[in-house]
Amino acid sequence: MARRAAIPLALIGAGAALCVSLAYAQSPAARAIPLTELKSGLAYTGEDVRALQADDFANPGMLWVERGEKIWNTPAGTSAKSCAACHGNAKSSMKGVAARYPAIDAKSGRLFNIEARINASRTGQQQAEAFAPESEDLLAITAYVNYQSRGAAVGVAIDGAAREHFERGRAFYYTRRGQMNMSCATCHEQNFGKRLFAETISQGQPNDFPIYRLEWQTMGSLHRRLRACLYGVRAELLPIGSPELLDVELFLAWRAQGLKGEAPGVRR
């Protein structure tokens, strides 16, 4: 009897999912969490972690920011140009830039996050080797660039060529995956604020990356954090910088619209 009942229920579920996806397709502005209720991940950490992030000396992420500043001013590649040679003082030229990323690169038409943008400048303008994904240098220069957007409101463009990336990112976000059969939304939209063992589930906001995560004992990118989530639900681990993660990064940035940049964040 119970088994028979399961079929119509499953059908209803599938129907509901279809309605949901149709509703999203029709109204792009549909937000699961109202803009006024968005909270940075900081709101879900402990007081000790908040204090560590707020102290610009104790915040371990500032070690990477400082290293990033040196990279910014050091000539690299066969062009022997530094980042500063073209962009000048990052404090003014990079102010608020990271808050607008990921964005479509006008030249290639591809979706770039800050890491991809930096590496495109490395190989294009500086004629230098690209930084390896998740390398200390890439984390450092990313931390330095994102640091200049502290306090800047996140706001990305999802029109034009970005649209298809956004839609794919959103589909990824709401798709259940892995052995746990969970989507990003299962935790970060339906259950934020509740406990998952000792952790308080956050809204999964991206406004403070790269972060110094105490569990990692080092800095990590948003993609590394996303991989940790994929690992948690026992899903396939997508490579850092993969198109899927870039798309979901764009969706996350849209979802975080108006949140203030906090890089470098500190998390448990």
Binding site: L63, R67, I71
Partner: protein, 107 residues
């Protein structure tokens, strides 16, 4: 490249206590971990750190794998005169590091 940050007050009065902070970017690899194919990762922690205030040794720390990665040390010194607070440290790999900060003492 930027391996440490040092903080001393911008100015202190002679005879006063002042706080010194140093944050060091170092993985402090414990030697207890293995890589993704199961091979042990060699221990590489900061073994010894020395702080000199105007040439005189002010602090010596024997460090070990019990320290967190990217350690932050803070301690107090008595202001005896303007000059510098200089740090030197060495890790298991034998790499030596040095970083210093200038100090201005008034009066």
């Amino acid at each position: 490249m930027a391996d440490a940050r040092i903080q001393v007050p911008p100015q202190v009065r002679r005879g006063e206590n002042f706080e010194v902070k140093i944050a060091i970017r170092h993985a402090m690899e414990t030697g207890y971990r293995v890589d993704e194919v199961g091979k042990p990762i060699k221990r590489n922690v900061i073994r010894e750190l020395v702080c000199k205030y105007n040439g005189a040794e002010a602090l010596r720390v024997d460090m070990s794998s019990g320290f967190a990665a990217n350690p932050l040390l803070q301690f107090w010194l008595v202001a005896v005169g303007s000059g510098e607070v200089a740090f030197e440290w060495v890790d298991d790999a034998g790499t030596r590091y040095a970083e210093r900060a200038a100090l201005t003492v008034a009066g």
